[in-house]
């Protein structure tokens, strides 16, 4: 017997479109979910107004992680911005470095060497797998399957070991610079990477059996949190959220960048865009990324320059211009809008994170009529990373 909501309790709308909710009437309760809860990596809270068990209205509150990056970058020279840029998105920092470096290179007229493009793609794919692993742990945890988070965090740690070998740091790599990358692959990297990928595939198989074939997970997630395909353009939905609705939106295929034209893969799509399908799309995306890493390691050139000729970075002035660079990160379309004005400092850097559109307007739309116990699962299924919303 499915749950049929009782619409007779619904608040009426006022003349200006806001809901007529009287909090002192005892019928509605205001509940704050946040700013800290498992599954969401970052602080973002949702102010829910519930009537009984059902959410009537939700408002997203961000700003707990605001550091004013765009203002700070205007005070730093181009090379000084490079270490600070990866802190904008905490769990998947490499995309920031790549988009910033590509934007600066484009405006300065520098072409990064081919070998560095391959290494950049390798790093981006490794970061994508890490991000999906964190998501799978969070999504299962939101529905009570705590063991998945233990497995995926462990396997993510193995990949962080590979990052440490390659770049020197676990989380903030600061490896992709304007002009190229800082170093090549160490000795024996291919063998260790292959071991890590095999471990990852084993874990994914376990995750599939424990999470995706689990009756409780299926019952709680199938049919819940549906994104209407008509909303995709209105709300700027990109990435796996859009692909689970049947639209194959993948920047790696639509507007290929780096070495993606030479790699062979197909974007993963799903049909019913509910929580289960989005989780499944992301799981299959991990398998695609694992395959991509194997292709990259097989096809990568092993010799060649790693950095292009960059002028003296202490006195680097870039001519006036503006550009927008986009890439496909694990959550959707990530972009950097850079404006320069001929001085040694960027005039304006605007970071467009995918969670900016997913977590604000889309979530507030989707959260109406949801049962209160499903709110956490719904929030996590949009795969938001709050640091990139308020930067």
């Amino acid at each position: 017997m499915s749950y049929v909501p009782d619409r007779s309790q619904y608040p009426a709308k006022n003349a200006d479109g806001t809901l007529d909710i009287d909090l002192t009437s005892g019928k509605y309760l205001k509940l704050w979910q946040g700013p800290n809860h498992p599954g969401i990596t970052g602080n973002m809270s949702v102010e829910l107004t519930v009537c009984g068990d059902e959410v009537v209205e939700g408002k997203t509150h961000v700003g707990y992680l605001h550091r004013g990056f765009e203002k700070l970058m205007e005070r730093r020279t181009f090379i000084q911005c490079f270490p600070i840029v990866c802190r904008i998105c905490v769990p998947e920092p490499d995309f920031n470095e790549y988009c910033y470096a590509a934007a600066v290179e484009e405006l300065a007229g520098i072409q990064s060497p081919v070998r560095s493009d391959w290494i950049r793609t390798l790093i981006l794919e490794m970061g994508r797998i890490n991000s999906y692993m964190m998501y799978l742990g969070g999504q299962a945890g939101a529905f009570g399957l705590g063991v998945i988070a233990q497995w995926t965090t462990y396997v993510r740690d193995l990949m962080l070991d590979r990052f440490e070998e390659l770049t020197g740091a676990r989380i903030y790599h600061m490896f992709i610079m304007p002009g190229g990358v800082r170093d090549g692959l160490p000795e024996g990297f291919d063998g260790r990477m292959e071991e890590t990928l095999r471990e990852m595939e084993r874990t994914l198989k376990d995750v599939y059996e424990v999470m995706f074939c689990n009756a409780v997970f299926k019952k709680r997630s199938i049919g819940v949190g549906v994104i209407d395909p008509d909303w995709l353009e209105d709300y700027g939905v990109t990435g796996p959220n859009a692909r689970a609705a049947g639209v194959a939106k993948d920047v790696r295929k639509d507007q290929p960048y780096l070495v993606y034209p030479e790699l062979d893969f197909a974007p993963v799509t799903g049909q019913d865009s509910d929580i289960y399908t989005r989780a499944d799309v992301r799981r299959r995306d991990v398998l695609v990324s694992i395959d991509l890493i194997r292709q990259i390691l097989a096809k990568m050139p092993r010799s060649g320059p790693l950095m292009a000729k960059v002028p003296n970075v202490l006195h680097w002035k870039i001519p006036q211009g503006e550009t927008y660079i986009r890439g496909e990160c694990s959550r959707g379309e990530y972009g950097y809008y850079l404006v320069t004005d001929g001085s040694g400092y960027p005039r304006r850097v605007n970071v467009r994170g995918p969670s900016y559109t997913h977590a604000m307007a889309l979530l507030e739309r989707m959260i109406v009529n949801v049962n209160i116990s499903d709110v956490a699962g719904l929030m996590v299924s949009l795969h938001t990373y709050p640091p990139e919303i308020e930067r």
Partner: protein
């Protein structure tokens, strides 16, 4: 700065029809400021208590900034903080260690103060990362605080940006030594200098819509 309507003083009608007045900021919180709690027992008993407190550090699960991402591996078998007696608890009432993991924006500082004041004494604060020490790489940002120990009494700093899980475990081991030596007096320091801490906090938090002491 106007307060939210549910925090204002107003008349409410109870379920049995009786009307009464509520003032949420005064009614739901303790009015007295915190007191200094000196060691009440003989040294050997206090040493035993300190040993017990150090070996069961329960951390409030509030990831305030970047550093939260290196706290998650600690809960997995690879780095395993649980063998040291360290657990993560969801509510401040059950926690005795608050880890400020990274920078604190003013908005989060308000919530962190609230969480800290709701914890029960004796309680400790660990500052993770260089942002708690001197602002880190956001030293010129208008929204992050630069010195954590102006607002909360810090017992230990763990440096790094960000610190590895092993560095966190080493930091916790140092904190345990500190507590066992009887030097984990953060809560008493907070109570003794309550007015000073409060003045600092109110200087940066402009919309203060909570009571002075959130017990």
């Amino acid at each position: 700065m106007s307060m939210k309507p549910e925090l204002m003083k107003r008349m409410v009608k109870g379920p049995d029809g009786v009307e009464f007045e509520v003032e949420p900021l005064r009614d739901y919180y303790c009015e007295a400021p915190p007191t200094v709690m000196p060691a009440a027992y003989s040294k050997i008993v206090e040493d035993l208590f300190n040993w017990a407190r150090a070996e069961s550090l329960w951390i409030l699960g509030f990831g305030t900034g970047c550093g939260a991402i290196e706290m998650r591996p600690l809960m997995t078998p690879r780095f395993d903080a649980y063998r040291y007696g360290i657990q993560w608890r969801p509510t401040p009432r059950q926690a005795n260690l608050l880890v400020i993991s990274g920078y604190l924006s003013v908005k989060t500082l308000k919530r962190a103060i609230r969480a800290y004041e709701q914890m029960q004494s004796p309680k400790y604060v660990v500052g993770l990362g260089s942002c708690t020490i001197n602002g880190g790489m956001y030293w010129d940002s208008y929204n992050t605080i630069k010195r954590l120990d102006d607002y909360l009494p810090v017992d230990l700093y763990i440096t790094g940006c960000m610190p590895r899980p092993e560095a966190l475990l080493a930091g916790f081991a140092d904190l345990k030594k500190l507590i066992k030596a009887g030097k984990g007096e953060g809560a008493n320091q907070y109570a003794a200098n309550f007015a000073w801490y409060k003045a600092n906090q109110k200087r940066v938090i402009h919309d203060w819509d909570m009571p002075d002491y959130n017990w």
